[in-house]
């Protein structure tokens, strides 16, 4: 008998036993729904993470930062080390071919004063590249320009929250902000940065809104007076994500040479970090996954049970089919098709429920809704596998029935 005709028979069986079919599908519906939901939610999480990172550099960013030495007893070279400096920045610019930008940032703490405000705050020394790396563009005025850098200009660009903090409701553009003893002219206020992982969470990018940014050269000349021009960290933008690993190795090599082997720096690949984060997230996925698989197992066992019971009712039918010329394989196929049909119905019903479930939860925690082709794939694969697996035993049982005994069965 062809597959098509087996499906015809199975459809009849399912239609005649509607109540039984509903019972059989319940477990599969729940199982598929939760697997689809897991798929959807983990996908939502992944997208969310990607979006967050893309707000300040994306996956192509490699962070080089200072790492304090932990050794109690230090060698002469270690004692001599002072971390990352301007020389490192220039070396990286020269020697890392896949780097599109090498963007150093230096930080310092200074007292900030306006007529209405006075407090010790962190200030950031940056280059014009900063706005591209962090996608941090002015809402009004302008960002730092090359000229500012060359002239060590006393200009400052403020994050939105910082501007409010220093000047209240007044327009800060063109006003003077005192950093330490030096007056800096406010040339730009930056667009607000916002990112909420979940609704009701704190703004994960608020730290950017609180920035006070001056030319890195001005920071050196006015405040640190540091001949080495030390930097706090360096963002290296790579031309394409595939080159991240190579770039990390190259950066390590250049810096190891320049730092005479002293490990006072660390190179962090954004892509690797993202992967790690996802793996951490996967633990939660696994819990949901286990729930889904458990429901499918229970659903499958229910199906197998009911199939076994229905086989007992249909022993004679199997005998008749065999007398008429059905081979064991035909009978097995018929029962398998029946169980897969039942689980496929379960999968079909489970899919929209799973989507609802996923979107309900993501809506609850304020994440965007997701519907992906993978959801449909999960439901199809899960339901067919369950149908095949749990239909196999009844199918083999049926196929092996002795026709004489089956025909005699009352």
């Amino acid at each position: 008998m062809t597959l098509r005709e087996s499906i015809v028979d199975a459809l009849v069986e399912v239609r005649v036993n509607r109540a039984r079919t509903v019972l059989q599908t319940l477990g599969v519906i729940l199982g598929v729904a939760s697997l689809v939901a897991v798929q959807g939610m983990s996908d939502a999480g992944r997208r969310q993470g990607l979006k967050f990172f893309s707000e300040f550099g994306g996956l192509k960013k490699i962070l080089v930062h200072n790492k304090p030495l932990k050794e109690r007893v230090q060698t002469a070279a270690m004692l001599d080390s002072h971390g990352l400096d301007w020389g490192d920045v220039e070396a990286l610019r020269r020697e890392i071919p896949m780097a599109t930008q090498v963007d150093p940032i230096a930080e310092d703490e200074q007292t900030i004063r306006t007529p209405t405000y006075q407090k010790l705050r962190e200030i950031t020394g940056a280059t014009p590249d900063y706005q591209a790396v962090y996608k941090f563009f002015p809402a009004r005025g302008r960002f730092l320009i090359d000229d500012d850098l060359a002239q060590m200009s006393r200009v400052v660009v403020l994050g939105d929250s910082a501007a409010r903090l220093y000047f209240g409701n007044e327009d800060p553009l063109g006003k003077t902000l005192y950093i330490g003893d030096a007056g800096f002219r406010v040339v730009g206020v930056l667009r607000r940065k916002e990112f909420y992982f979940n609704e009701g969470d704190r703004n994960a990018l608020e730290w950017m809104n609180r920035l006070t940014i001056i030319p890195i050269t001005a920071l050196y000349s006015r405040f640190t007076g540091d001949p080495d021009k030390k930097v706090s960290f360096i963002n290296v933008m790579v031309d394409k994500v595939e080159n991240n690993k190579k770039a990390v190795a190259a950066i390590n090599k250049v810096l190891a040479r320049r730092h005479k082997g002293v490990p006072d720096f660390e190179v962090i690949d954004r892509k690797e970090r993202m992967k790690q984060q996802q793996q951490e997230g996967q633990i939660f996925d696994l819990i949901f996954l286990a729930t889904g698989i458990l429901s499918l197992l229970v659903g499958g066992i229910v199906i197998m049970n009911i199939m076994m019971a229905s086989l007992r009712e249909r022993i004679r039918e199997v005998g008749v089919r065999k007398a008429i010329g059905a081979r064991g394989l035909d009978v097995a196929l018929q029962f398998l098709v029946e169980s897969v049909l039942v689980t496929a119905i379960g999968g079909l019903v489970g899919l929209p429920i799973g989507i609802l479930f996923a979107n309900g939860i993501t809506a609850l925690i304020g994440q965007p809704a997701v519907i992906t082709p993978q959801m449909a794939m999960v439901s199809v694969i899960a339901s067919v596998v369950v149908g095949l697996f749990f239909g196999l035993y009844p199918a083999i049982k049926a196929a092996r029935l002795n026709p004489v005994e089956a025909l005699r069965y009352e």
């Binding site: 069986e13 005998g319 008749v320 089919r321 065999k322 007398a323 010329g325 081979r327």
Partner: protein, 258 residues
């Protein structure tokens, strides 16, 4: 398509035995059965319960294989075939008619009649056509879409007969075909078998009812796993005496032994 009447035997059993192991003791259901049935014969196998009559029917129907001995069915030695090959033989060469009709309850009459062709791999169009034709022959074409439960017993048995014939089998094997029917309906069904016999079908009736057995031209009596007697039925003998009979020649030489 039907085998030519009277020539080579369609069935030949040689020294067929069947032994069942039931615990410590072996049950000898058949003890050396030799039987030839010619194409186009109509034969009744009778015997009390426990005689081995059912076992013989199962072996004839290729539902079971002999413990020893040979069985040729329409030229094919089937005694040692695999279960897979036996299924094919059942599908192509045997048409079963059961006491309890054994129609599939959830399938329409048409689908029930299609079933042997479904397992025989007959294409959809030809299958439907042949199933309709078979239903027409038993007078139930207009009810093709009905379920078996909507029919009377006699009608169900007609459908079963249509199903048995639809693949043009070498033999039709009927096990107590009138056992569940009232006398009149039973007579109608037997008349249908007579009709089939006249059309050249080889028909084997398994029964314990002497009246039913008399409808055949030849009666084989099984007792204790052996053939106790094998000869023309009274009707066939009478028809042989009065040469106006149609089937007397088919009854074979044993007809004159009585």
């Amino acid at each position: 398509m039907l085998p030519a009447s009277g020539s080579d035997p369609v069935i030949r059993l040689v020294d067929v035995t069947k032994t069942y192991d039931s615990g410590d003791t072996a049950v000898h259901a058949l003890r050396g059965v030799n039987l030839e049935i010619g194409a186009g014969e109509s034969i009744a196998i009778i015997g009390p319960s426990g005689s081995g009559k059912s076992t013989l029917m199962h072996i004839l129907g290729c539902l079971d294989v002999p413990t020893s001995g040979d069985y040729d069915l329409a030229g094919t030695p089937v005694a040692s075939l695999s279960s897979r090959a036996l299924a094919k033989v059942r599908n192509e060469k045997i048409g079963f008619v059961f006491q309890a009709y054994n129609l599939l309850p959830k399938a329409s009459l048409l689908r029930n009649v299609e079933l042997p062709m479904l397992y025989g791999g007959v294409g959809r169009v030809e299958r439907k056509e042949r199933a309709r034709e078979a239903l027409r022959k038993v007078g139930l074409l207009e009810r093709a879409a009905h379920l078996p439960s909507q029919l009377s017993g006699g009608q169900r048995q007609r459908v079963a007969i249509a199903r048995a014939l639809v693949n043009n089998p070498a033999i039709v094997l009927a096990d107590e075909p009138t056992g569940n029917l009232d006398t009149q309906t039973g007579k109608d069904i037997l008349a249908l078998f007579d009709e089939l016999g006249k059309q050249g079908h080889t028909i084997i009736l398994v029964t314990h009812d002497p009246v039913v057995a008399e409808r055949a031209s030849r009666i084989v009596r099984i007792v204790d796993g052996q053939i106790a007697s094998d000869g023309a039925s009274v009707r066939a003998a009478a028809e042989a005496v009065v040469p106006a009979g149609v089937v007397a020649v088919d009854a074979g030489p044993v007809a004159f032994a009585h």
